[in-house]
Structure formats: structure tokens, C-alpha cells
């Protein structure tokens, strides 16, 4: 039997549940026991997905302050490993996870693979696949250490829906190694949090070609009740915030409809697209890489496309 720990750190339970698919790829038919630990609020929503859910008992753990307390989170995960001897530890590659995973790998003296996008495994020989060089190249990586297999995984790369057990087993764990926190969160400005492009079913994305008229994408997004996203070129020119960047160095997204305007579609961008239902590519070059994965290619200028399509949509509205 294989024992896996999934860290369910922040408030997003789906991120932790989706990692079950990664465990499924790792061990296939082999019997697995999946343990979850993290924010108590998140743990509640993991009921039925995880075999074992661990909450602390009688320790100094200040739950509200734990959220960004990287060192104490690492302490807890280390203690859990010592108690359960997991075969693998999976950590969501979000802001906190990206700092916790490397620390834990040093503690456990084990190899760590970041941003795993695929897993090839026959149950024993395991290769973790990740992009390198901005996604220009894929690398298959093996763990040579004696410790557990450790990886971080970005949101939306794996997906899991179905319940696994009738009732999760709740275990109380008395954590011992809690220290005074070295980091204090003073305050948060979260005005962009509500605009998470990962939650949108329709995305209108602009690339380098849209730099001079990027604002106009908003009009089309509004007409289609979607949101605006961007490729790295737009972010690098500081035309749009990094929170709406799609791709290997941005976010992985799975909307139903993706309209890519002026995006050539370098691998690093395509890497960020998962399970799209439909893709429309608007590009002056009909042989741009993105066009080969599009359902519909519009050859021409993006600005003109937006204006014409908006006129067509509004004409229809008037006819109603």
C-alpha cells in the first residue's frame, strides 16, 4: 500500500482534491491511502475525498496565523512524515506551497520536482514531467533520494471530481515543534482577487499584437460575459497585471471558450491551456502555432476583428 500526503494549505479545497488525480497517475491500480492536512476550513470540504484527514490537537498551533507561516507549516509536515512515513508528498504550487515544498525537501533530504504537468509511471518507475526553459523543452525527472517522492503541482493541471470513500477518518495529531513566527502578515490589498481568470468560462486573451489596443478586449469580454486574459508579452510591457497572465509563467486555465487575439502561441503559452472546449485564434499570420490548435482561425487584424464582431453582436441585440 502507498501512503500519500496532500497539503491542503489555503482556502481552496479544489486545489487539494485535484491532486488526487496525480496520485492516481503515480500508483494506478496499487492500493493507496491519501492523507490530508492543512487549514481546518479546507479539511472539512475534503471529507469523502481523502482517506485520512489530520487536525492538530492541543498544540500551540495558531491556526489563523499559520497561513503564511512557512517555517511552522514545514515543521508540521515534517512531523507528519516522521509519524506516517509517506511514499509521496504533493503540495499545490501556490504562493505558500512554493516556499514550503523546497524547505521540506531540505528537511527530509529528498528530491523535489516543481510544477509537474504530467506523470508517467508503472507504479514503481516514476517519471515526473515538467516544462523547462519557458516550456520550450519538457524534462522527465526521477527521484534519486531515499526520501519520499515530492512534487509541487500548479492549479488546474490535474482534475478530480469523484468521492473516494464513504467517510474520511479524522485523526488528531499533537504537533510539538511550533515556534514563534518569523513573519507577520500586516494587511492585504485584495482588489484583484475576485477577478481570477481561472474561474471564468469565457476568456478573451490578448498577446503582443494587441499592445496598442489592449483595452478594447474588455468590450468584447463584456459582450460575451467573459474576462480578459493576456500573454507574457503584454505583462512584460506592463500593460496588464501579472494576475491575468496565461501560460507556463502565468496561470493554467480551462475555460470553455478561449479567444486568442494577437497571440502567436509559443509552447510556454499553450502550456497554460488545459481542456478548452473551443478555441478561436485571431492572427495576422494564419500559420502562427496557435492556429494549429484552434477550432476557428480568423486571419487578420485583432482590432478590426473586435470592432466587427461587436457590431455583429449588437446588431443582433437590436433585432430582438
Amino acid at each position: 500500500m502507498k501512503k500519500c500526503l496532500i497539503y491542503a494549505g489555503n482556502e481552496n479545497a479544489k486545489e487539494a482534491v485535484d491532486l488526487i488525480e496525480a496520485v492516481d497517475h503515480l500508483y494506478g491500480q496499487v492500493n493507496t491511502r491519501i492523507y490530508g492536512f492543512g487549514d481546518p476550513k479546507v479539511l472539512k470540504s475534503l471529507e469523502g475525498y481523502f482517506d485520512v484527514l489530520i487536525r492538530d490537537e492541543g498544540s500551540e498551533l495558531q491556526k489563523n496565523d499559520m497561513k503564511f507561516d512557512i517555517i511552522n507549516i514545514t515543521n508540521c509536515l515534517e512531523e507528519l512524515y516522521q509519524a506516517y512515513d509517506f511514499d509521496s508528498i504533493l503540495i499545490p504550487a501556490n504562493y505558500v506551497g512554493r516556499m514550503v515544498a523546497p524547505r521540506l525537501s531540505i528537511r527530509l533530504e529528498t528530491g523535489l520536482v516543481a510544477d509537474v504537468t504530467a506523470i508517467e509511471s508503472d507504479g514503481e518507475n516514476i517519471e515526473l514531467i515538467r516544462p523547462a526553459y519557458s516550456g520550450k523543452l519538457m524534462a522527465a525527472i526521477r527521484n534519486r533520494g531515499r526520501g519520499p517522492l515530492m512534487m509541487s503541482v500548479r492549479q488546474n493541471v490535474f482534475q478530480w471530481e469523484k468521492l473516494r470513500v464513504e467517510k474520511s477518518q479524522w485523526k488528531k495529531f499533537p504537533f510539538k515543534n511550533i515556534e514563534a513566527s518569523e513573519v507577520t502578515l500586516l494587511w492585504t490589498e485584495g482588489q484583484e482577487a475576485m477577478e481570477d481568470i481561472r474561474e471564468s468560462e469565457i476568456l478573451i486573451a490578448g498577446g503582443g499584437g494587441t499592445a496598442r489596443y489592449f483595452d478594447e478586449l474588455e468590450d468584447l469580454a463584456e459582450a460575451l460575459q467573459g474576462r480578459v486574459a493576456a500573454s507574457r508579452k503584454i505583462i512584460d510591457q506592463e500593460i496588464a497585471p501579472r494576475s491575468i497572465q496565461v501560460g507556463q509563467s502565468g496561470k493554467t486555465i480551462s475555460p470553455k471558450l478561449y479567444i486568442a487575439i494577437g497571440i502567436s502561441g509559443a509552447i510556454q503559452h499553450i502550456e497554460g491551456l488545459k481542456n478548452l472546449d473551443h478555441l478561436i485564434a485571431v492572427n495576422k499570420k494564419r500559420h502562427a502555432p496557435i492556429c494549429s490548435i484552434a477550432d476557428l482561425v480568423v486571419e487578420g487584424d485583432g482590432k478590426e476583428f473586435i470592432e466587427k464582431l461587436l457590431r455583429r453582436i449588437h446588431r443582433k441585440d437590436q433585432e430582438k
Partner: protein, 264 residues
């Protein structure tokens, strides 16, 4: 105040060539550049020095001796010292082994804070800053966009951090590692004209394994806990696309498509 900056020289990722037959990157011919996040970190350190000239700024990099010329360019700014960690034994180190090597050097130093970038464009794992912090037993924060310089000089680290679109404000105990993300807030000063050709070789010190005294089995490929078993180019599964022009007929086709699929 003493600040140590960790800087990585990386191949120019945008223009790197790929050998399709051998399935490897042609790294040899690639131009080296300073990793953008690391450049922001160094620019921030030099900003501290501008405000408090008695600040000492030391840059540490690890790589082949071939980076020396590029390294000198950095040292022609107002940098006090450059440490190049270089040894044939270190070639092929993964992030774990790399952090052990850098950690071995940093353990011998007394810095008030260490500045690094968050991501590197080539590997893009973000492992090393957090791993070094763990080895040194100090706190570390990623994706720092601004640092309150006045407070820093008072010995207090107030950080503004970009966490997936939210801006978070933290106070972090020092000594600690502050890992920046690329931003326009901190810009590298230009090299003064009279310094273009200045000999800075006396500022560079090369550290090899003789200095750091790590065991051979702890470094390089042998000391790495992960190994790349193969590399390949991702094949994109192609679709039978329909191509239309940006004319009335084409727009009508798009409009009908959106309607058929239920988007309108």
C-alpha cells in the same frame, strides 16, 4: 549593513536554439544574461547603498568561469565584492545540491539580509531561495515587489508581496532572505562612462570546493536527488482548423459558431 545578493546567469531563453535531432538545448552558443528577477534584487540592494553609503553589497553567483566577463559588468556598479563559486565538481547539480553549495558559502558569512530573485527563467523552480533559507535557519519570502528602505536601515523588513494578484504586506524578522520579482520599482544603475573599462578583477574572489570543503558525493550529479532522465519537445495535438478572413463572411462564421456553441 551587509547585503548579499544571489545572482544567476542564464541562457537567453527567448532566443535559445534547440537541436531537434539530439533533443537538447544548444546552451553553448546561447548568450548569457542576468536572470531578470535577480537583476531587480541587485538593483534594490544598490538602492539601499545609495541611501546609506556605508552599506556593503556583495554579489554571489555560481557557474562556470566563463561568466567572469558578465560578472565584471555587474561589479562595475557600486558593488563591493563579487564571489564566483565555481568547480568542475559542481557541474550538473540539481536545486538541492546547488542550495547545499550556496548554503555552505553563506554559512560562513554574516549578512543582515540576503536578496535574491524569486524565479529564474531557465529552470523556473523557485527552489533555491527557500532551500537556502532552510539551510541557514532564517525566514524567506517570495515575490517581493517593494521593500521599505528606511525601515530596512532601522533593521526592520517591511515587504510588499505579490501573491497571485493580491498585494500582501508582511513584516519579516532579520536576518532573512528577501526574494524579489522583476519590477520597475528598482532599476539597475548604468555603469558610469569612466568605469566602462575599469579593472575590477581585484573585487572578484573565486571559491572552489577546496574552499567550501563539501564531500564529492554531496555535489554535482552524484549529490543531486533528482535526475533528468530524458528531455523532449512537447508535441501539440493539431486540430482541423477552419480558417476565415476578417471580412463580413468571416465575422458571420464566428458569430454563428459562438451561437451554435451557446456562447451568445
Amino acid at each position: 549593513m551587509k547585503i548579499i545578493c544571489l545572482v544567476k546567469f542564464i541562457p537567453d531563453v527567448e532566443n535559445i536554439q534547440f537541436d531537434k535531432k539530439k533533443n537538447v538545448l544548444m546552451r553553448e552558443n546561447a548568450k548569457l544574461t542576468v536572470n531578470p528577477d535577480d537583476e531587480t534584487a541587485l538593483a534594490a540592494a544598490l538602492k539601499v547603498k545609495e541611501l546609506a553609503p556605508d552599506t556593503s553589497v556583495e554579489i554571489v553567483t555560481m557557474g562556470p568561469k566563463g561568466v567572469t566577463r558578465k560578472f565584471q559588468d555587474l561589479l562595475r556598479r557600486d558593488v563591493d565584492k563579487g564571489i564566483l563559486i565555481s568547480d568542475a565538481l559542481y557541474v550538473g547539480s540539481d536545486t538541492y545540491a546547488t542550495s547545499r553549495i550556496l548554503g555552505a558559502y553563506l554559512k560562513t558569512q554574516q549578512a543582515d539580509c540576503i536578496f535574491t530573485g524569486t524565479h529564474s527563467l531557465d529552470g523556473d523552480t523557485s527552489h533555491v531561495p527557500a532551500q537556502i533559507a532552510e539551510i541557514l535557519g532564517i525566514p524567506q519570502m517570495n515575490n517581493v515587489i517593494t521593500l521599505d528602505m528606511d525601515q530596512l536601515l532601522q533593521g526592520k523588513a517591511l515587504l510588499q508581496v505579490n501573491s497571485e494578484g493580491d498585494t500582501l504586506h508582511f513584516q519579516m524578522n532579520l536576518p532573512g532572505i528577501i526574494s524579489f520579482e522583476k519590477s520597475r520599482e528598482y532599476k539597475m544603475p548604468y555603469i558610469r562612462y569612466e568605469d566602462f573599462q575599469r579593472d575590477v578583477s581585484d573585487k572578484i574572489k573565486i571559491f572552489s570546493n577546496e574552499d567550501l570543503q563539501l564531500k564529492e558525493e554531496e555535489v554535482g550529479l552524484t549529490g543531486s536527488l533528482t535526475e533528468v532522465s530524458r528531455t523532449f519537445m512537447k508535441e501539440v495535438s493539431k486540430k482541423d482548423s477552419i480558417t476565415v478572413k476578417n471580412d463580413d463572411e468571416g465575422i458571420e462564421r464566428v458569430y454563428q459558431f459562438l451561437k451554435e456553441k451557446g456562447y451568445l
